[in-house]
């Protein structure tokens, strides 16, 4: 008994290839979530009622239901309704992207509201259009302040991405499970998978700290 990592050395490259799969999903979903999150946050603060309703309903649906359910609805539902079979990875990217947009939009909304009202007034007094003021002056300040919260979201996305294993995407988690099944020994591959996730998150937070230091140079 005890741990025997020896037997998994040959399949280590297989497990490590899962990193690309996981990262691909996380990065693309993160970008979708961020861009859509900005749009939704601006909708939420919009004076046009329809836009703020749309954004509010969107957020409440995606926050109010389990992520794994959204994943399955997209993976099984899209083919059923449209007849188009989608790749598991695409379903994963879509559901994670749409889901994190709901959370990110709330973070960005709070960030925009926290920027001093005087900034907008100063911009308006100079004849700057509201749109320009938002993108050049308000958002950059908001993003700087909410950067740690955004990194939190990225970290949780990285780890939560492991649920894609339920629709058969061969990410880190799925590969560890397959390795375990082969040898009837699950603990070792799970420990290895855990290490990989941990290292990924550590790299992400270290990079984030460096970026944050750069952003704080105007303080």
């Amino acid at each position: 008994m005890g741990l025997d990592f020896q037997q998994f050395i040959p399949s280590l490259p297989y497990l490590l290839k899962g990193i690309t799969v996981t990262l691909q999903i996380v990065v693309v979903a993160g970008i979708i979530g961020f861009v859509l999150g900005i749009v939704l946050s601006i909708f939420k603060l919009s004076k046009i009622p329809v836009l703020s309703w749309i954004a509010a309903i969107y957020t409440s649906v995606f926050r109010g239901t389990p992520l794994v359910l959204q994943l399955m609805i997209i993976y099984f539902g899209v083919p059923q309704l449209t007849g188009i079979q989608i790749e598991p990875a695409v379903a994963a990217i879509l559901s994670f992207g749409l889901n994190s947009a709901a959370y990110i939009s709330e973070i960005i909304r709070a960030g925009i509201l926290a920027v001093d009202r005087g900034q907008k007034e100063a911009a308006m007094a100079l004849g700057v259009s509201p749109r320009q003021a938002m993108f050049d002056l308000i958002l950059p300040q908001a993003l700087k302040n909410i950067f740690p919260a955004l990194i939190n979201e990225a970290v949780s996305l990285t780890k939560e991405s492991a649920v894609v294993t339920v629709i058969g995407v061969t990410d880190i988690m799925r590969r560890a499970y397959i390795m375990g099944g082969e040898k009837y020994a699950y603990l070792e591959p799970m420990i290895l998978a855990g290490l990989i996730y941990y290292v990924l998150v550590m790299i992400l937070t270290t990079l984030a700290k460096a970026v944050e230091r750069r952003m704080r140079r105007s303080d």
Partner: protein, 240 residues
């Protein structure tokens, strides 16, 4: 050049401005004084529509800015503002603060804008601070940058909303000096202030506001030595 007719502003049931009538000629330096809550700042903020009047007209160069289809952006390009709390853009350098609007709003090239920005910074005595961020400046320096930022749009009018009220006492003078250097250079200045010395020395006219109306409108020499109304007398006794 600025005509204010029967200007009213209410917030819900609170009436702040109750019918202001006044004219300001091109190049005039007008200080607006009065007790707190008298509507001075609200009046000023109606002139560039940071507050939308409830009733009445504000006509600048023949254009009624309270009309629905007026291009507010164009008006604001021509009417600069300096705020009590500066409102510099903290993520931009001093020079970028000054050049941002000329580049983005007026479409100046970066090099043109920077040349002009540096000249303006020199004019307010801050040529050496062009590349620092606002957080490194004192209050007085921040306000001088804010003045340069307003001047960069080459406006005909600048509104000053209590420009020295948030400053440490030793920094008031440097800002007032810059403002004095602008006075009577052709630029129209409307200044809400508690600096009676400045009002006395630099202004053409003093508007005394109380209770949302103009109570007195006189040259400073007359207003400070011989106020006509009891309310103005009372106010001056407290201030001087």
């Amino acid at each position: 050049m600025i005509n204010v007719e029967n200007l009213h502003k209410s917030y819900g049931s609170l009436q702040v401005l109750k019918g202001i009538n006044t004219q300001v000629e091109k190049g005039e330096v007008v200080t607006i004084i009065g007790p707190s809550g008298s509507g001075k700042s609200t009046f000023l903020r109606c002139i560039n529509l940071l507050e939308v009047p409830t009733k009445g007209k504000v006509i600048i160069d023949g254009t009624d800015i309270t009309e629905k289809n007026t291009n507010i952006k164009k008006i604001r390009e021509n009417v600069g503002m300096v705020f009590q709390h500066f409102h510099l853009f903290p993520h931009k350098t001093v020079l970028q603060n000054v050049t941002y609007a000329p580049i983005k709003v007026k479409g100046l090239s970066k090099s043109e804008a920077e040349k002009m920005g540096k000249e303006l910074l020199a004019r307010v005595g801050l040529a050496d601070k062009a590349n620092v961020y606002p957080s490194r400046l004192s209050g007085g320096q921040k306000q001088r940058v804010a003045i340069a930022r307003a001047l960069a749009m080459n406006p005909e009018v600048i509104l000053f909303d209590e420009p020295t009220s948030a400053l440490d006492p030793e920094m008031v003078k440097e800002v007032l000096e810059v403002m004095k250097s602008l006075a009577h250079t052709g630029i129209t200045m409307l200044i809400v202030t508690h600096e009676m010395g400045f009002a006395r020395e630099a202004a053409n006219r003093v508007l005394f506001l109380d209770g949302g109306v103009v109570v007195e409108d006189a040259p400073p020499a007359e207003f400070f030595t011989n106020p006509k109304t009891d309310r103005a007398k009372e106010f001056l006794e407290k201030m001087l």
